[in-house]
């Protein structure tokens, strides 16, 4: 069994941390000494993070209850629970926020006592960001070619420190059919949890072109149990894709109005919807778009 691994990527600039399913790309910007110390802190914190999660895995795979947080021991587990609690009106387990929470936890460890201009921890597309005063970071997102910019620029004053993407084509299971839902939120954990639920809501219940399989049959210990997860999406008519996206947009708008996320972009079959604005949109075509600053 492999223990935690830390390596520099071939560019000698970015740190790659891997342990089991956790796969992080880490980069810090600032004074070289501060960056070095931050990388060391990230590696140090990384040593135990998977074991801490594994220790509480059975409970983390159980659904959260709306506004009734459970008491977890591990700091990452606590982040996961905190991120899903406001969303737990419907089915959600802390596992929906695991990737973003790990990113947040490592980023926090990197920043302790350090002075960095910028930093990010990218956990397979779910990112935690750090921006010092008057900084900006450009993040690439999927789903381009729909009149969307393929880059999102996040500035210090936006208050966005988490970016996450969910969809049925990704590594985690989805109950919905979105190709991708990208969310900008205050933390990686909050973005991750919200992206999961918005992607679940981009759906056409009962549609014959959608192949669904019980999560348990695919991964016997999945937190989704017997729920049907999307395994294939056949051809959809433009009207159907629009309907599915609008189903998701209702949830996205609800989250945004409640202040749970800053913005989101939903993609399906070459169409897109935008909720909120952090310079996410290059065009103004999307019906759900509102100009509102996060």
């Amino acid at each position: 069994m492999q223990g935690p691994q830390a390596h520099w990527l071939a560019d000698g600039r970015r740190l790659h941390l891997n342990h089991g399913p956790i796969d992080l790309i880490v980069e810090a910007f600032g004074e070289p000494d501060e960056c070095r110390a931050a990388y060391a802190q990230a590696v140090d914190r990384f040593q135990a993070i998977l074991m801490e999660l594994v220790n509480e895995l059975p409970e983390l795979r159980l659904p959260a209850f709306f506004l009734a947080p459970r008491d977890f021991e591990g700091p990452t587990a606590r982040r996961m629970e905190a991120a899903v609690i406001p969303l737990a009106e419907c089915f959600i387990t802390p596992m929906a926020a695991v990737a973003g929470s790990v990113a947040d936890e490592i980023l926090t460890a990197m920043l302790a006592g350090r002075q960095l201009d910028r930093a990010y921890v990218n956990n397979g597309g779910d990112c935690a960001l750090h921006l010092d005063e008057n900084q900006l970071m450009t993040v690439a997102i999927a789903g381009t070619g729909n009149g969307m910019a393929d880059r999102v620029t996040i500035r210090t004053e936006d208050g966005v420190r988490g970016v996450a993407t969910s969809g049925w084509r990704g590594r985690s299971f989805s109950l919905g059919i979105a190709d991708a839902v990208t969310v900008l939120a205050r933390t990686g954990a909050e973005a991750d949890a919200a992206a999961t639920l918005i992607a679940n809501a981009v759906d056409l219940p009962g549609h014959p072109a959608i192949g669904r399989v019980s999560a348990r049959d695919l991964a016997p210990d999945s937190d989704l149990g017997a729920q049907l997860v999307t395994q294939s999406v056949g051809p959809l008519s433009p009207g159907e894709a629009a309907r599915a996206l609008d189903n998701g947009l209702v949830v996205a708008e609800d989250f945004r109005r409640r202040g749970l996320i800053a913005a989101s972009a939903l993609f399906l079959a070459g169409e897109a919807r935008i909720s909120g604005s952090v310079a996410l949109a290059a065009s103004n075509k999307s019906p759900g778009k509102e100009v509102a600053h996060a």
Binding site: M1, P21, L50
Partner: protein
């Protein structure tokens, strides 16, 4: 206990029987994986009821014995094909090979190679070592803890301080009792520490009633936050012997402070032969022979591995009748030359520290120059158990006999090992000679280490080897193994001999050819 039985302990009884689902033990998450799917990591999957590993199998390219690691030249008649190293000398290591668990079946790779006209076979597997540990040599005279004191990592007992060696403290870590004989946390902490030490990562060890030491193979030890730079040149008495002539005429008295034997030049044989005059010095300690004192202080982190921070504390009153006089000069120095001070006796015959004189700098510098850099050395020690040996031959004792009879050359990740005489195959290897990241673990807990057995093909067949499973290096490069993982070529560590050739030469030296 067999490795097989131990592996089952980490699972609930009957778990393995769940149809078409297997539990992956590649990481602590231990996913159940349905047939045809991958686990949460996407890198290990269930292919037809077997865990398939996507990590590459490591194949070492041995450079020519000139020592250069990367040699873009034609060698051994093989035209350079654009690869960075001479590909004439390949060695399929067990790194990434997988194990034979849970079946007693042939090892994952049995590789044939012709070397100097002799057909050789290398049997390659990853061994699960429930009986294993590390021996750590810490170059320091500082007292890090009493013999048999418990050594801890993360608060858990993982080993003990063992008998010290010349200039070094020795620590023995791991072993089956700490791995599986204690609490779950103890086993986990032990496994973590062993794994990190073997993979050349730093590990913080705390010793009951002693010091906290950061150990990293091939690096200087850090003892109670202080980096140890040098080994002592010798004990205090030996230091006097080596440097007495250098001091003669420059100073009236020299005391070399040492935890083991503190030396006094005016009383020491080395001083006597130079006609050194008595100084009336009095050392508080147990006199062994003239000029040599045991136990001037408790062991500690001060001067020369003692607990002394003020060296004058080991001196009694100076005796005028035996030569003490105002103005008499005294050098006090530790066995590494790192601590030194210069004194002169005042009118009351009390030593008073004076600026260190230029004339003595050279001798103190010489002591320091003669001290070798202090390092931590980590040797992995493990015993090859039943199922591992059964993967090599149908009659496991034959393998033991062949290893003991020097007919089989054992390597760990291609690195040479020391095999203990006596029964079984208990081996030790310097972890700095093993390619990086070669060691793994299973949740038993136990370590996983690559192990390769190289021998003549006819010997292999004779000892009951799996002749039908022998494959060529080229075939393995092209097709991989049962675990279907990709292959990765890496340069072999420069100082490791190419195992097939090492076995051939050894056999020749023993007249076995």
């Amino acid at each position: 206990m067999s490795e097989l039985a131990e592996r089952f302990e980490t699972h609930d009884p009957g778990e393995k029987q769940i149809a078409e689902k297997i539990r992956c033990d590649a990481c602590p998450v231990m996913c159940y994986i349905a047939d045809g799917r991958t686990g949460a990591c996407d890198r290990y999957g269930n292919v037809g009821g077997r865990i398939v590993r996507m990590d590459p199998l490591t194949i070492l390219d041995h450079a020519a014995e000139t020592g250069a690691a990367v040699v873009p030249f034609v060698a051994e008649g093989e035209a350079w094909n654009g690869e960075l190293v001479n590909t004439g000398r390949r060695f399929v290591t067990a790194i990434g090979a997988g194990t034979t668990y849970p079946d007693y079946k042939p090892a994952p790779f049995i590789v044939s190679q012709e070397v100097e006209g002799v057909d050789l076979v290398t049997v390659v597997t990853e061994g699960i070592f429930s009986y294993c540990g590390v021996k750590v040599k810490i170059d320091t005279d500082r007292h890090i803890g009493d013999e048999t004191a418990i050594v801890r990592a993360g608060g858990e007992a993982i080993g003990h301080v063992t008998t010290g060696e010349y200039g070094s403290q020795m620590v023995s870590l791991g072993g089956v009792h700490h791995l599986t004989g204690g609490s779950k946390q103890e086993g986990r902490a032990t496994c973590d520490a062993l794994l990190n030490l073997c993979n050349r990562k730093p590990v913080e060890l705390t010793i009951d009633g002693g010091a906290t030491v950061i150990v990293e193979a091939g690096k200087a030890p850090v003892i109670d936050g202080k980096v140890e730079h040098r080994m002592r040149v010798g004990c205090g008495s030996a230091t006097i012997g080596m440097f007495a002539t250098q001091w003669c005429g420059l100073v009236d008295e020299v005391v070399v402070v040492d935890d083991h034997i503190t030396g006094v030049v005016s009383e020491h044989q080395a001083g006597k032969v130079l006609g050194w005059e008595d100084t009336g010095i009095k050392i508080i300690g147990r006199r062994s022979t003239p000029g040599r004192y045991f136990k001037v202080s408790e062991p500690g982190l001060g001067w020369g591995g003692t607990s002394i921070s003020d060296p004058l504390s080991i001196l009694g009153d100076w005796n005028a009748k035996k030569g003490a006089r105002p103005g008499l000069s005294l050098l006090m120095v530790s066995t590494t030359g790192e601590q030194f001070a210069y004194y002169e006796l005042d009118d009351d015959l009390k030593p008073v520290e004076k600026p260190f004189p230029e004339r003595l700098q050279k001798s103190v510098g010489l002591i320091e120059d003669n001290c070798e850099p202090a390092l931590c050395t980590v040797l992995f020690i493990g015993g090859a158990g039943g199922s591992l040996r059964a993967g090599v031959t149908e009659n496991p004792v034959n393998l033991t006999r062949s290893v003991q009879g020097l007919k089989t050359y054992v390597t760990v990740g291609g690195a040479p090992v020391y095999v203990w005489p006596g029964g079984g195959i208990t081996l030790m290897v310097d972890v700095t000679r093993v390619p990086e990241g070669a060691f793994g673990y299973v949740p038993t807990p136990a370590l996983v280490a690559p192990i390769e057995f190289t021998m003549r093909r006819d010997d292999y067949v004779r000892l009951g080897g799996y002749e039908g499973e022998i494959r060529s290096v080229e075939d393995i490069l092209a097709r991989g193994g049962e675990y279907l993982n990709p292959r990765s070529n890496t340069g072999a560590p420069v100082n490791n001999p190419w195992p097939p050739l090492a076995q051939l030469r050894r056999a020749a030296a023993n007249g076995a050819r």
